[in-house]
């Protein structure tokens, strides 16, 4: 037992010691936290874009003269790990603002068990589940929850609109078997059926399989005129290749998650001529083009992964709200988001001059209308954004916009669906 006791003490000391290492203070820094899946291939660019926004903000002088330090933690897409990281950021680093997470299954427990009880503002770039709208409308988020990713409702309506415009009458659906995919698959099916389009098959695609032949064959049986895919690049490419090689139609409508070079290269551009995608972000505004310019300047590549402009806007809006807030507490920052995204305010694009002007205006107690990578952002009472939409297709350099739907057009179409 004696040696056992020593081990017990030793192990405790080592574990505790790991916690004691970092304790370096810097003068006048403002911390914000980020919990994002950085160990996942598509998660890292999202974090990189948020960090880029922080750098731009610091060049413009930081928040109230203090340098912003973004403390980034990986979620490993494991809810336990994500919640723990969020709790550590809130309790140990005292961040008043948390960016993240990506998966709704991680964002939700963070929201209910960390940020709301601790009164910290949470802004997600990418969680699209309709469950958040339900929580917020019950008043359980205390106004601390925001997301810059249009809800699945918005995305599914645009998908239906594209299908309607192309006159497809018989459309099969493939959706990713997660919360987002199930949500959007169900909504698109309902929208199409309400417009009189037949949906002979709606098939779940579970990640990480080596082949989707049985799923593809099942959809082929019904000989659909076109297919709709809400999938991620890796499994999306597999499904598309098997679909086309088995003689399926090349008339495809795809979600913004497939807007990636990885998908285009792995399927082959020659098969994607009749493919059209929808995206709730990247509207045809100066600010969206401005974001693409800024991004290209920094990373020497097109911002073609999912969620990049959303991540940029989430970080920027959070920092501008901190600038506008009377104090550094989560609730007052959350309440100041409205000052930053006021449609009646001065339009601001977040480059060096824009940020400088924004700070002057906010300092003088005026409101601004933030115009970022996803266009002019406006949150509703549940922290959701509606967004204008674009249709895009693949080309040699990546993707190209083919059509633009303004916010009003999208909203009008959604209400026509609901009636």
């Amino acid at each position: 037992m004696h040696s056992g006791l020593k081990t017990l003490i030793g192990a405790t000391v080592v574990t505790a010691g790991l916690w004691a290492i970092p304790a370096m203070a810097q003068d006048c820094t403002t911390k914000i936290g980020a919990v994002l899946p950085t160990s996942v291939d598509w998660g890292r660019p999202i974090a990189e874009t948020a960090a880029f926004a922080v750098d731009l903000f610091n060049v413009a002088g930081g928040v109230k003269g203090c340098k912003v330090e973004m403390i980034l933690r990986d979620t490993q897409t494991d809810p336990k790990v994500g919640v723990d990281a969020a709790k550590a950021l809130v309790d140990l680093e005292k961040v008043p603002v948390l960016l993240g997470a990506v998966s709704s299954g991680v964002s939700m427990p963070i929201l209910t068990s960390v940020t709301v009880p601790s009164k910290v503002m949470q802004m997600s770039c990418c969680s699209s589940s309709t469950a958040f709208t339900a929580v917020a409308s019950e008043g359980k988020t205390d106004g601390l929850w925001f997301r810059t990713f249009a809800t699945t409702r918005n995305q599914s309506a645009v998908a239906a609109l594209l299908i309607k415009e192309r006159g497809y009458k018989n459309v099969a659906i493939f959706y990713k078997n997660d919360d987002w995919g199930q949500d959007i698959g169900k909504l698109v099916k309902a929208d199409l059926e309400s417009m009189g389009v037949t949906v002979p098959a709606s098939i779940a695609i579970t990640d990480g399989q080596s082949s989707y032949r049985s799923e593809v064959t099942e959809a082929l049986k019904s000989q659909p005129e076109a297919i709709y895919m809400a999938l991620y690049p890796a499994e999306g490419a597999l499904v598309t290749r098997e679909w086309i090689s088995l003689g399926g139609t090349q008339k495809m409508v795809v979600a913004n998650s497939l807007k990636s070079d990885e998908y285009r290269d792995s399927v082959g551009l020659q098969y994607l001529g009749e493919t059209v995608g929808h995206d709730s972000a990247q509207p045809r505004t100066d600010s969206a083009r401005g974001f693409v310019e800024l991004y290209k300047e920094q990373f020497n590549a097109e911002p073609s992964g999912p969620g990049l402009p959303n991540s940029f806007d989430a970080a920027m809006i959070a920092m501008l709200a901190m600038e506008a807030a009377p104090d550094a507490s989560g609730p007052s920052i959350a309440a100041s988001v409205a000052k930053v995204t006021d449609p009646a305010g001065e339009p601001i694009f977040p480059n060096a001059e824009g940020l400088k002007k924004a700070k002057e205006l906010l300092g003088a107690g005026k409101t601004i209308s933030y115009q970022g990578g996803t266009g002019p952002v406006k949150f509703d009472t549940n922290g959701d954004v509606s967004a204008p939409a674009v249709a895009w297709k693949f080309d040699e350099s990546g993707t190209q916009e083919v059509q633009y739907f303004t916010l009003d057009e999208v909203d009008a179409f959604i209400s026509s669906l609901e009636n």
Binding site: G4, T7, L8, A11, T12, V14, T15, L18, W19, I21, P22, M24, P37, T38, S39, G43, R44, A47, A51, I71, L72, R73, D74, Q76, T77, D78, P79, K80, V81, V83, D84, A85, K87, A88, V90, D91, L92, K94, S103, G105, V106, M108, P109, T112, S113, P117, S118, S129, T130, A131, V135, N177, D178, D179, W180, G181, Q182, D183, A204, T206
Partner: protein, 330 residues
């Protein structure tokens, strides 16, 4: 300071909940030698059934029984036990690696089931839970977190005390006898198949209890919580702590989960700016390294299984026991 205490309380709560599951596995593997590769199936069943039994009504979905929390928790644990009976009967002829693969497959099946059976489980979006027990009464997040920690620790102590009694009783000796040599145990008139099933079910009930507590604490459960990584984490905790030693199982939970999350904290604080984006990947390497190094230094775990010797007078007997002991050590 209050922030540190608040985080510590949170960390210890999760550790206590996971430790309960590790104790369940320790009964199965550490004592009875049952290689359960599907810990998450029992953990998840406990969590889901608890939330379905205790939760409020969900629009158009099954559930909404609104049972009192202790009943819901017990129901979850019982459901995990029921699943274990079915799995145990189906796999009764399987041993070691075959059993591991079979149980692993069952865990994958359960995950796929909850992801797709939207009517029952809410599908991929998961199920939101209910107000945690007595939360409205205490009405202070920090005091409530202390209360919940106390609750988890009390349950952990009850499980620990119960299991310690069980494994030091003649029944525990029987479990170890079957683990070491099933044929020999059978030759003494014991029924290994039945005893193995019993140990498997008791262990699963304990894992289900841990799952129920987990879902109570987060007031949320989704298929993402049922990823196979949890099975790996629970196993790593047991192996690092010392299979066969209940105290070791709990210490292992503390050390492995502590290193798991502390590595993320250390990397995010120390890594230079340009490496921050890769910290998540480095964290995996660090976690693996800590587990490997611990096992290199202490191959039988931090607190190895202690030899239980029934002392009897007489020189001859002592000799036999010490021989058995040597074999035990190898």
């Amino acid at each position: 300071m209050i922030g540190f205490v608040s985080y510590l309380v949170f960390f210890l709560t999760i550790t206590a909940i996971l430790a309960i599951a590790v104790l369940g596995l320790n009964l199965q593997w550490g004592n009875a030698g049952i290689f359960n590769g599907g810990v998450v199936a029992f953990f998840g069943t406990g969590a889901y059934i608890m939330i379905i039994l205790g939760g409020p009504e969900r629009g158009g979905e099954f559930g909404g029984f609104g049972l009192p929390w202790p009943l819901a928790l017990a129901g979850g644990a019982a459901a995990a036990g029921l699943l274990a009976i079915l799995v145990g009967l189906a796999t009764t002829r399987l041993r070691h690696d075959y059993l591991a693969i079979a149980t692993f497959g069952i865990a994958i099946a359960i995950e796929a089931f909850v992801r797709n059976a939207t009517y029952l489980t809410g599908g991929a979006k998961g199920i939101r839970g209910f107000e945690r027990p007595l939360e409205a009464l205490i009405d202070n997040p920090f005091l409530y977190s202390l209360f919940f920690l106390a609750l988890a620790v009390v349950l952990l102590i009850i499980v620990y005390a119960g299991l310690s009694r069980l494994v030091s009783s003649p029944y525990g000796r029987l479990l170890r006898a079957i683990r070491e040599d099933e044929t020999a145990a059978r030759s003494l008139g014991k029924n290994p198949a039945r005893v193995r099933l019993e140990a498997f079910v008791i262990g699963a009930v304990i894992m289900g209890l841990a799952g129920g507590l987990y879902a109570t604490f987060y007031a949320f459960i989704s298929p993402q919580d049922l990823a196979p990584i949890l099975t790996f984490q629970i196993w790593a905790m047991l192996i690092v702590g010392g299979a066969g030693n209940n105290l070791g199982a709990m210490l292992g939970t503390f050390v492995v989960w502590g290193c798991w999350v502390a590595s993320g904290y250390v990397l995010s604080s120390l890594a230079p700016q340009e490496l921050q984006l890769y910290a998540g990947t480095l964290q995996y390497i660090l976690i693996g390294l800590i587990i490997v190094v611990t096992l290199l230094i202490r191959p039988r775990g931090l607190l190895p299984e202690r030899l239980q010797v029934t002392k009897r007078p007489g020189p001859q007997n002592t000799g036999v026991i010490s021989n058995a002991g040597e074999q035990y050590q190898s």
